[in-house]
Subunit: 715 residues, 2 copies
């Protein structure tokens, strides 16, 4: 791995392509770079100028007399690879390639040149970021290696000088968005330390920077913008590392093309789009997904302050001097998934001492404009934050004018240091710069959107929950020695691309996955004999890898009773199959006992192109087919994973007591999901999709019946 | 009706309670009032001072030598009514009562004093706003009758002086929120003409002001904040008038207490909360509901510009110089309900002339930073807005620096004048004040949040649709002379509080509502005879106003066949009813033919406490019971209303062809909803709730069967 320190915190920088003309990006970059008080050395490199913005310019990087840590390359595309090689030869440790026109170009040439950049980076073990990047900024080193106007010198320091911790890094594949995080976050006093924009990622990827910064303990919170993860495995391992370290990743993932759905063979494949794999990984590792730049900033601002004092639940206290604003926030908080409980009597009594008779200490605590000005924002929020009924507080204020905040500055600072429940101040008027800085100096975030505040609390509480569960979780194990993989593998290999139920069932059985039993019959006589042996009412189903939708092919008959009916049914099903598809490879008819009553569930597996096998679960025909109410998680699953996956379904309560039925056997369903996930993990490279559909989950204690099953192998 | 003009645009104003001390609200109000260039006369009234802020003060309003249009009253609560009476005697036409401590107080006294304010207003025909109000502002008259810091003089005019139309009024029950709209909207160049905060609404209500401003043609767009509508009928009539006039109401409605649910008798009652009535009225009249202050401002800014050029559909073209921002917006737009279609070949060819090979003209049109600076924002958006494939355009830009906008200022102005498709510019960097003013002077809104832009387009397209439908709709008629009301009324009056199916069916039948038929039997012999007469398989159901949940009471038997079984069943059902509730008033057993297959629907009526009878519809057991997927609209319904109500259900596609079934008979379902709505409207004062549950909707052409029905009368 190349030296990312040389990239992020260089002592000497060459700007290859430096220019005086600030109407060009090359000139703007120089202007931005020189506008800040960077303490390292800057060497312009120019083919045409002897001097750039007062600095001596060199014809080539090789001409620079001293060692260079970082080369910033902003020259026409056709010269980039040769220049990069020159850097390598000089021993330059890192390069930021700004130039566009590589893999984003139509045609082969750009892609080839980009591949060449990667080869050069490897050859010289150089830390190369880009091409097609907008550059990066190290705020504490005051190094703004970019033409982005967001970090142009404007009299405001790049990072609030009073912050000592809680630093935020923005790492983005898009330069525009990466610097937009800074542009919107800095006015809210968000302490960015790095903004890195990775462009086409010929060599270094966004996740390499996250990885490095977690290890170096420099950043506590990450804002990420991803169009795709070049190395999905790296995304997974870095996400896991970040969660372990308690450093939240707040990610905007764009490009939800669901073209993959169209080609799917199974139900499971058709129900889950390309983005579902990302979402499953994000859910598992507590990655916070958000696509609103302002809300991402609010979430980051909240974590930056409260990462060591996260809310332990979703109960929020609301304080306000405006009854209307309090009511509005209560609605917004409730809709976001927070609770706004009535406060305990002791807390209310303490508040009531300060309120006029037309105030309310219930929650929202409407202290009225009058009482807010006597009791003050600090004491009011302190009282509510100490209530045993809340996990966090949102304190509504009007911060247009800083006077009422300045009056209680010491109290706010004490609150910032001492509160155990996190507090967000939220101004319903546009807060002034002075107010924002004042509150932040007191150790509290001051936000200005109620939705952003509610969302931040929901995400902090959720992150805390996921992380607690994660830290208790046994490490994901490789298949145990007792895994039936070795026994099952040869049979899977021998089978065709599509295994229908009679073929899939024995493989599943080896993994302890319960099946409906039954026998494959190939003649009418067989059917009659088996019917007698099984007895009772029977289900009979055609078995052919060419007939996936059996109902459509009239290939299923239910409630068949007795040997005579079984014989007739066999003949009819075979005939129907021939009519449906004369060339179908018909293997016979599966005869099974009819299953008892139960709730309909679909359980499946889908091999995500990026992240490997995922287990899917969905409830009931209507919810799955009309609302696509399904949930996905990477295999293998623990029992806890299975439970929380089920809990994520909108229709989860269907499995509870419902319409006079007892609760369903959720334990059996979870066991099925865990076993299937182990099967999927064992054959991650072999299997494309699995459907157990439908599964009938009987009442608690009565288990479940898998009514149909297919396995689709990768081609 | 008192003279709202005297209130909103007075020539002479008395400030009763005026003070010099700006640490008090009374002094702040004077300071704010005098800080602007209001051309009318201002007379302070003070018991203690002879002069306030350089103006001669009078001991009482009666001492003022000239006529007064408006009195602003900001004195202790106990003096308010007497002072108001004094104003009345002097002939003051309007009063703004700021003082708090009336109906919001605990106890009777405040409420009584508030009622007294109303009586005085009526006695003197005075336009009284408040009490407990934060005051109001008429921006064009530069009259800021409030202590709100949001309109304190700060060097910026209260309203952009270049605007000639598209004015926005903010009318709010909460002073904090009302002025917050202005505080957040003014920096975006939103042209507010009035901000009115109505407080406790002893006399004038928010809707009175909206009504007046629609008539006076002064405002084109309304931002409203409502905690409750004091006169629901006024809300309905003003909402209808606003829609007819094409002046959108953008409303934040808070206080969604759903306590009403708990007391409900029927399913319909239990499924719909107190806020459902508001939502139904809003849906019918195109009222836009939003509870995010920033988003409300964005929606208002968009309507303010494009109210006469609303998008005719939901297809949006996206232009960008940042590929990342374009991808992000495409995701956001799609999630918000917009389409991002690929552009037509002609438009693409025109764009492609300007793009480097690594740009894209598909949509989002990623022109790249390079091409954006050559082609310019004006021309780029013009080309896309002319595409026949789009109904509107969002043009992403970086407006931190106004230079690139200033360069194409004339083009932007031409675009503002000439485009037929609305265009929103959206800056991903924080736009500078100069940029915002520049773009707005060109006739285009410049917003800064992608979600806000997407939401604004969705709301504009939806408003256009609702209004087109509304303008084509025949006026809601009173029950026609052929209404069966007269025939049905006496029977409804005679019945007890709860009518079970056998009693409800004949009433429904008079309105053409199809029922399952069948006959009430009261003896086992009767049951046997009727079973023979009807023939085939039968449903038998206990009939008792005391047994609502028949299944629970084992009061239903299905698939009863023949007279012997019918006789046994009768005896058993009656016995079960006795076991369930020995005191139940059992009327007999209803014997009906079994219905054919169909999709399960619930149709009901609920009398909303504020808005009268509402028709409810929901699909399928699971969707209704687990997800509460129901929709509500005020009775009576037209056929179009019924169709759009159904279309609002998440599970609507269940009525289409599904799982091998043909489409359901939607026409029959709509006819049922229309007939039931007429019944509900005819008996608006008599009926509390109606359940038709379940209704089986058969395949298209085969109609439907109402399987059970109850009517709950008001007590």
């Amino acid at each position: 791995m190349p030296d990312l320190n040389a990239f992020l915190a260089p002592n000497a920088v060459a700007v290859i392509g430096a220019a005086n003309d600030t109407s060009m990006l090359r000139g703007r970059l120089m202007e931005t770079l020189l506008g800040h008080d960077y303490s390292g050395e800057i060497f312009p490199v120019s083919r045409t100028s002897r001097e750039v913005m007062g600095l001596k310019a060199y014809p080539t990087v090789g001409d620079i007399p001293t060692a260079i840590d970082l080369a910033i390359i902003i020259i026409p595309a056709q010269f980039v690879t040769e220049t990069l090689r020159e850097c390598g030869r000089k021993g330059v440790k890192a390069a930021q390639v700004i130039t566009s026109g590589f893999a984003e170009e139509v045609g082969e040439k750009g892609a080839q040149q980009q591949a060449e950049i990667r080869r050069i980076a490897e050859e010289f073990d150089m830390a190369v970021c880009g091409p097609n990047s907008e550059g990066f900024t190290n705020t504490r080193a005051q190094l703004a290696a970019t033409f982005s106007p967001a970090v142009a010198a404007n009299g405001t320091s790049l990072v609030p000088d009073y912050r000592r911790d809680g630093f935020v890094s923005a790492i983005a594949q898009s330069g525009g968005i990466g610097f937009a995080y800074f542009d919107r976050g800095r006015p809210k006093e968000l302490p960015f330390n790095y903004i890195v924009t990775t462009g086409n990622e010929a060599a270094l990827e966004a996740m390499d920077f996250v990885d490095h910064l977690i290890d170096n303990d420099e950043s506590e919170v990450f804002l990420l913008f991803l169009e795709d993860a070049k190395s999905p495995a790296k995304l997974v391992s870095v996400a896991e590392k970040a969660l372990r370290a308690g450093k939240p990743l707040i990610v905007s993932k764009v490009g939800r093309s669901d073209s993959g759905r169209r080609a799917a063979v199974s139900h499971t494949g058709a129900l889950t789009g390309d983005s579902a794999g990302y979402r499953a990984i994000f859910n598992r590792y507590g990655v916070i997904e958000c696509n609103d730049i302002d809300e991402m900033v609010d979430i980051a601002a909240s974590f930056s302050r409260w990462r060591t004092r996260l809310p332990r639940g979703r109960r929020v206290g609301i304080t306000t001097g405006s009854g209307g604003a309090g009511g509005l926030l209560a609605d917004i908080a409730t809709a976001a998934g927070l609770e706004v409980p009535i406060l305990d009597a002791a807390t209310r009594a303490e508040i009531d001492q300060h309120l006029p008779t037309y105030g309310s200490s219930q929650n929202p605590v409407d202290a009225t404009a009058q009482a807010v000005s006597t009791i003050g924002y600090a004491r009011l929020n302190e009282i509510v934050a100490s209530s045993p009924m809340v996990d966090a507080v949102i304190g509504i204020c009007s911060a247009k004018n800083p006077a009422s905040l300045r009056r209680v500055q010491d109290g706010l600072a004490a609150l910032g240091r001492e509160t155990t429940n996190p507090i967000l101040l939220c101004s319903y008027t546009t807060p002034s710069r002075d107010s924002i800085e004042l509150v932040n100096r007191c150790g509290l975030p001051l936000l200005d959107n109620m939705h952003g505040c509610a969302r931040a609390l929901v995400e902090m509480a959720g992150y805390h929950e996921v992380r607690e569960r994660f830290l208790k979780r046994p490490p994901t194990t490789m298949p145990s020695v007792r895994s039936p993989r070795a026994k099952v593998a040869p049979r899977l290999t021998r089978a065709g691309r599509l295994l229908c139920e009679y073929e899939a069932v024995p493989l599943f059985a080896a993994y302890g996955i319960p099946t409906a039993g039954g026998r494959l019959v190939t003649t009418a006589d067989d059917a009659a004999r088996v019917a007698d042996e099984i007895g009772g009412k029977l289900a009979m189903k055609i078995q052919s890898p060419d007939i996936l939708h059996k109902t459509e092919a009239k290939g299923v008959e239910l409630n068949v009773s007795g040997s005579i009916a079984a014989r007739d049914t066999f003949t009819r099903l075979i005939a129907n199959a021939r009519i449906f598809d004369a060339n179908a490879d018909v293997r016979g008819v599966l005869v099974q006992p009819m299953a008892g009553k139960g709730r309909e569930v679909i359980v499946g597996v889908k091999r995500d192109a990026a992240f490997g096998p995922m287990v899917m679960v969905g409830l009931g025909g209507v919810l799955v087919e009309v609302l696509k109410d399904v949930a996905l998680a990477p295999a293998p699953l623990s029992s806890d994973d299975a439970i929380s996956l089920l809990d994520g379904l909108r229709g989860r309560s269907l499995l509870d007591a419902w319409r006079g039925d007892a609760p369903a056997d959720v334990a059996a369903l979870c066991a099925l999901m865990v076993s299937l996930s182990q099967f999927a993990a064992d054959f991650a490279d072999e299997i494309l999709e699995i459907d157990l559909n439908p599964v009938l989950v009987h009442e608690a204690g009565a288990g479940l019946t898998v009514l149909d099953a297919i396995i689709v192998k990768r081609q």
